[in-house]
């Protein structure tokens, strides 16, 4: 996964650690199959956040194993069956936790970058 516009080397590592958050956030907007998750990530990031789509599946399967999302097979007419993923209540809690952590981290990083040493602890 990488940032197309920025082309920054650290973008890959930055996103790699947050793929679960990204997937949970997408599924929070509605149930999707793997293909739909990839398209939604592209759409919501304004075609900025691109990924090798196969890397989604280990993440999806790991989230499912941990009970954060649930998969349900759907038989489609004229095509192969697809597995539809939905976020679970445990997944919502995890997403909330991750969102707060991310917000705190970005706030802290901004303070460091801006040199605001007198700020109150988060």
């Amino acid at each position: 996964m990488y940032l197309r516009r920025c082309g920054l080397d650290f973008g890959r590592e930055l996103i790699k650690g947050n793929t679960r958050t990204v997937v949970l956030a997408v599924l929070n907007h509605g149930s999707q199959h793997g293909y739909g998750v990839a398209r939604e990530i592209e759409r919501l990031s304004g075609q900025t956040l691109l990924l090798k789509e196969g890397t989604l599946y280990p993440v999806l399967h790991g989230l499912e194993r941990d009970g954060l999302i649930a998969g349900q097979w759907q038989v489609s007419i004229g095509g192969p069956p697809r597995k539809l993923y939905s976020i679970t209540s445990a997944g919502l809690e995890e997403l909330d936790k991750r969102t707060r952590l991310w917000n705190d981290f970005s706030l802290m990083l901004n303070r460091v970058i801006e040199g605001d040493g007198d700020a109150q602890p988060i």
């Binding site: 990839a38 192969p80 069956p81």
Partner: protein, 245 residues
Amino acid sequence: MHSQFEEPMSQSYRYRHPSAEVEDYLDHLCHPLVERLPFAEREVIRAEVRAHIDGLIRAHCELGSSESEATLAALNQFGDPKSIGQALLREHSTVRGKLPLAAWTMLNLTLGAAAGASLFVGIDCLLHTMLQATIFPFLGPDLVFGAAVGWVPALIQLRSPRPVVPAIARAATVYAGSMAALILFVETISCRWSRISIGTLQFMLLATLASAAIGALAGAFGSYAQRKLYCFAPDKQLALRRTRR
């Protein structure tokens, strides 16, 4: 995990993508999973990835690509199949995928050595005199037990629903054979040296080798049986044979 897959999977069990490139790609993706995940679980993964690639191909076709161009673009977009397969294996493994290789090896060594030592010492202490005198007048209990214990991991392997067992079974088989050799060697050197004849020594060495060989055979049998019964679906084999004809 399997129950929700059974219905759609049974309907599409023999579904294959019309593009040979896609099936070849799926073969490479599933290669790290062979002998690690059951066939049914691999088929579920194949079906899911196949559906995604199918969607990508359709999207590329709608944008004006030819079928072959769309397939290549879709596969490239999906990523390196082997690394995806390995990442999937890590997510689906129970213990092995979570431990570094060194830690896993040490765990196997410790378990194998401890199990082998305790079993052989136990059988020696409890049954040596009785077995030697009555049931096994010609074969020592060390040999008999050494040969028998090799079959335990093979049997466990046959019944195991998880991919972590074959590695333990293979390690345990090796250690059972090794421990048999070690104990017989130590007994030969320390306790029985003064009472032992050259003929008996030769017999014990042969017995040691036989014990290790039987243990190794048991492990090989277990692996073979696992491949045939657990990771490879007989009806898929039949389907392939029909296709070839």
